[in-house]
């Protein structure tokens, strides 16, 4: 009896030890993040304001802003989303609902999973060769957006497949049993029921794309831009213009990098402020993804 009590005491002590070790490990991560954020905020917060968002970069740190950077980031992301969403979702649907299960689709599947792990700079090189040199898109918003689209395409495909796989087979059978074709089943059931999961994947992909620097530098984004891309609207018919697609650009992380590499302390503050903006953008997008997932989970539970 004494023996057992002793054993229990020892195991309980080990329990206690691990609880402390686990707590400390968690705190290390949290504390680091907290320090980083506080530091960033202390440095950058005073710089945030309307003028910071509405000004071009400048030689004078007080006058410099992120106008061209956030507009560039926004437009690049627009191109990325327009390319990656239709292609990625269509590929995901095809692989799950249409393609047979054989060695070829297995190889494709493994390759897509591998593509998600390819370093982003490699996508930059690919985009440089294909979009800049071969298609002659130039060092433009279009090239940057497509480079990032390549980068997040595997993520979008995988998110789509995961979301589709969560739909129980009984739903497909119910649809087919009523005489539906494959496309009707996809259109009325597969796409609507997987939208939550797909959107979540897309937004997380985009929030990764917005912070990417390497592929954007590789395709030749500029680091100092004091003008905006051409307007998407024109005064003549058809009133919209796609000229902006071929304009040079910069993005948030490159603007940050540019400021960080300057010797003056004031520019470091600008970098911190831009960092806050970038982080907020990412957090907002991730928050939105969580919200969407929550909304859809509430409506559709299998």
């Amino acid at each position: 009896m004494e023996d057992i009590k002793k054993r229990i005491r020892i195991t309980k002590f080990l329990d206690y030890i691990f609880a402390i070790v686990g707590l400390l490990s968690t705190l290390v991560g949290l504390a680091l993040l907290f320090t980083l954020m506080t530091d960033l905020f202390m440095d950058g917060f005073p710089r945030l304001g309307y003028k910071f968002f509405a000004s071009f970069p400048s030689r004078f740190p007080d006058e410099a802003g992120i106008l061209s950077a956030w507009v560039g980031s926004f437009l690049v992301l627009l191109v990325t989303a327009s390319a990656a969403i239709p292609i990625g979702v269509a590929a995901g649907i095809y692989l799950e609902e249409y393609a047979g299960k054989n060695w070829l689709t297995n190889i494709i599947e493994i390759n897509i999973a591998n593509l998600a792990g390819v370093p982003s700079i490699v996508y930059g090189l690919l985009a440089l060769v294909v979009f800049v040199y071969f298609f002659k898109f130039g060092e433009s918003i279009l090239t940057g957006g497509l480079a990032l689209a390549l980068l997040i395409l595997p993520m979008v495909i995988m998110a789509t497949r995961e979301a589709i796989r969560a739909i129980p087979n009984s739903i497909r059978e119910a649809s087919y049993a009523l005489g539906a074709t494959k496309w009707q089943t996809v259109q009325f059931h597969i796409i609507p029921y997987s939208t939550g999961g797909i959107l979540t994947g897309i937004i997380i992909g985009l929030s990764r794309a917005i912070g990417e620097t390497a592929p954007i530098i590789t395709v030749g984004a500029l680091t100092f831009i004091a003008f905006l891309p051409s307007s998407p609207f024109s005064s003549e018919f058809p009133f919209i213009s796609f000229k902006w697609l071929f304009d040079p650009f910069t993005v948030m992380p490159i603007q940050m990098f540019n400021w960080v590499s300057r010797p003056q302390h004031e520019f470091q503050l600008n970098a911190a402020a831009a960092g806050i903006v970038l982080m907020m953008m990412t957090l907002l997008m991730n928050g939105f993804a969580i919200y969407i997932r929550y909304r859809f989970r509430k409506k559709i539970k299998w």
Binding site: K101, R172, E173, A174, A177, L178, K299
Partner: protein, 255 residues
């Protein structure tokens, strides 16, 4: 009264890849009657049922041999020339577990019509009401047709699935153990409904519950190891089976 046949199964063989699941099945399906398929687990009754609306075509490596002739058109619905979608347009199915779509009650019932290109609101409204009445669900849901089908109880969901299958005026309605996931009260309602429905539609039901077969069906086929051992009027099968195996199964000595 002369028997009127809705369908005739002739020398049906079915293979999952190399495994033969159904062997030389011959069976008449009487018009506007309930035919029950009974037998121990794995005897092929569900496999057989799913031949009628070509569900096996959804998965690779499945193969049919023989004929299922649908009357009065005299077409073989399992011939490779026959489009499975055309077959499913005429032969509906209710599954083991209620599987409503995560849509409104209304949209669940209307789906089969939408698939057929019906989009006029008045036609849909009328058909939805008629089908829900046919499935004895109308009074329970008429005030909340826009609610999600998942809000209904299990038994109501299954009746919704029956309404969904009825909406397209099927010529044969297939039931695959429709009450195995339901409680006794809900089961009773479904059984009453099946007896009611045979006035309008030919029904084939798979069940592992022998009392259920005895209660709802007019004809019963006893299956064992992929073959039909005995087929007769239900009361004959349950009172005076001619095959020893059938007798042993219905008296609960095996299976």
């Amino acid at each position: 009264m002369v028997k009127e046949l809705k369908a005739e199964v002739k020398k049906l063989n079915f293979y999952y890849g190399r495994v033969q699941a159904l062997k030389e099945i011959n069976l008449p399906i009487e018009r506007r009657k309930v035919s029950a398929l009974i037998g121990p687990s794995g005897c092929g009754k569900t496999t057989f049922l799913r031949c009628f609306n070509r569900m096996h075509d959804l998965y690779p490596h499945n193969r049919y041999e023989g004929e299922i002739i649908l009357h009065p058109d005299n077409v073989n619905i399992i011939s490779p020339q026959m489009d499975p979608i055309e077959v499913r347009m005429q032969i509906s199915m209710v599954f083991q577990k209620p599987n409503p779509f995560p849509k409104s009650i209304y949209e669940n019932v209307a789906y089969g019509l939408r698939v057929r290109g019906v989009s006029k609101r008045e036609v849909l409204d009328e058909k939805v009401e008629k089908s829900l009445r046919g499935a004895v669900l109308w009074d329970e849901v008429k005030d909340r047709l826009n609610h999600l089908a998942f809000d209904l109880s299990g038994g109501q969901q299954q009746r919704l699935c029956i309404a969904r299958a009825l909406a397209t005026n099927p010529r044969i309605l297939l039931f695959d153990e429709p009450t195995s996931a339901l409680d006794p009260t809900a089961t009773l309602k479904i059984e009453e409904l099946i007896v009611e429905l045979k006035n309008e539609v030919t029904i084939i039901i798979v069940t592992h519950n022998m009392q259920q077969a005895a209660r709802v069906s007019d004809y019963t086929a006893f299956m064992y190891l992929g073959e039909i051992v005995e087929y007769d009027k239900t009361d004959r099968i349950f009172t005076a089976p001619s095959n020893k195996l059938t007798e042993e199964y219905i008296t609960g000595r095996f299976g």
